[in-house]
């Protein structure tokens, strides 16, 4: 495990073992924040930041953490970074903070972060863990951005708040509500995994 090279880790996290469409983790936030691209970008940047740094911190502290309290220590470290993100958003970008509401705090419950600290950072050197955390965050980010792209385009007719579709386009209200994230995610999983299997079969 520790000998895995950097490119292999990135490939794994972004594609072969993507946290969202292969491991099906972090689904709650996929449903909640993907109706506009701006919210999704800020939220996923927050997740990338938190996964990266908590993996780094856990990895740095791993030789001091007693096994009995390791989960609690990990949760503490993760929530530390989440609250930092929350504080920064509230102070410097209040509009975004208002739009995301309680979801920033809910980054703590994102299984990807806990999963990466427990499965990877606990047993790997700090810089490699940071890299692993960042790439899993990015793996989460691009899937969510794809979902948000379709949902915002069809639900509001806009992208990043700019009107794209003509004004007489009837917005698909369902795209704005949580159920559509289920459809969109399922369609993405179908397409991406279908593509993956086809490649495997060809080999």
């Amino acid at each position: 495990m520790a000998q895995k090279n950097w490119i292999a880790i990135a490939k794994d996290n972004l594609w072969y073992n993507n946290p969202v469409f292969i491991q099906i983790l972090g689904i709650c936030s996929t449903l909640a924040v993907t109706n506009t691209l701006i919210n999704t970008s800020i939220m996923t940047l927050g997740v990338v930041f938190v996964t990266g740094l908590s993996a780094l911190t856990v990895s740095l502290l791993k030789s001091f953490i007693p096994r009995k309290v390791r989960m609690i220590a990990q949760t503490l470290i993760i929530s530390f970074y989440v609250i930092i993100v929350d504080i920064v958003l509230r102070a410097y970008v209040p509009e975004v903070s208002r739009a995301l509401g309680p979801y920033v705090g809910l980054i703590i419950t994102n299984c990807i972060i806990m999963g990466r600290t427990e499965a990877f950072a606990q047993s790997n050197p700090p810089l490699l863990s940071l890299w692993d955390g960042l790439t899993s965050g990015i793996g989460y980010m691009y899937v969510l951005l794809m979902v948000a792209f379709v949902r915002e385009l069809l639900g509001f007719g806009t992208l990043f708040g700019f009107q794209i579709l003509p004004n007489n386009f009837a917005n698909w209200t369902i795209m704005v509500m949580p159920p559509s994230a289920f459809f969109m995610l399922a369609i993405f999983i179908w397409i991406l995994k279908g593509y993956m299997f086809r490649k495997e079969v060809k080999k």
Binding site: N35, L61, I65, P66, V69, I83, I87, R90, A91
Partner: protein, 203 residues
């Protein structure tokens, strides 16, 4: 000391919690003023836009608020007044329950509470893209100058083309957000009757 021993575990847990919580407390303390100022500014902007005062920048909003708007205290509820075009305008902050959570905002009325001057929302948790559209301009604009009939307004589901009459005390509901629209009607009417009581205007 043994790493898995009880004493080490307790000391470790204590130290790690102390350090992380301490850093958070410092970060919170450092940004407290900015956060408070943001919230104040948000409320000020809402009051200004409800009373129909335009502003370009944050500084201008502060300045105009301080020079034009004055605050009356009435049995614990604050009334904001401003004189615009030789007429006194009264505004108050309301809050009431929407579909998912509390909706707070500002409602401004003219001196004899016969017309609404404007409405703006401070916080709401309605469904984004449905009930959440109460924050959009077209919805709020319907209230500006709306005549209050029998000390209430009505939110109606539109016939063809919508309701552009400001004399009939009616506002178009938001398609797909019936419950939010109903809540707004209730909240606004309650606020109108509160304002009447406070200002001593009889029907």
């Amino acid at each position: 000391m043994k790493r898995e021993g009880r004493v080490y575990t307790i000391i470790f847990t204590f130290i790690i919690s102390f350090v992380f919580v301490f850093v958070l407390a410092v970060a919170n303390e450092l940004t407290k003023d900015t956060v408070e100022k943001n919230q104040e500014l948000f409320q000020i902007k809402a009051i200004l836009s409800a009373t129909g005062i335009s502003y370009q920048s944050d500084e201008e909003a502060f300045q105009k608020y301080n020079s034009i708007v004055s605050t009356l205290n009435n049995n614990g509820s604050e009334i904001y007044t401003a004189q615009i075009n030789q007429e006194n305008i009264y505004a108050t902050i309301f809050s009431g329950s929407g579909l998912w959570g509390t909706i707070t905002g500002v409602l401004a009325v003219n001196e004899d509470v016969s017309r609404i001057v404007g409405i703006d929302f401070i916080s709401q948790n309605e469904t984004p893209g449905l009930g959440g559209r109460i924050e959009e301009d077209w919805f709020k604009r319907q209230f500006s100058g709306l005549k209050i009939i029998d000390s209430e307004i009505k939110i109606v589901t539109g016939q063809n083309g919508g309701d552009y009459d400001y004399e009939n005390g009616q506002v178009d509901a938001i398609t797909g957000a019936t419950r939010t629209s109903e809540s707004i009607e209730k909240i606004v009417n309650e606020t109108i009757s509160n304002l009447k009581d406070i200002l001593g205007v009889s029907i």
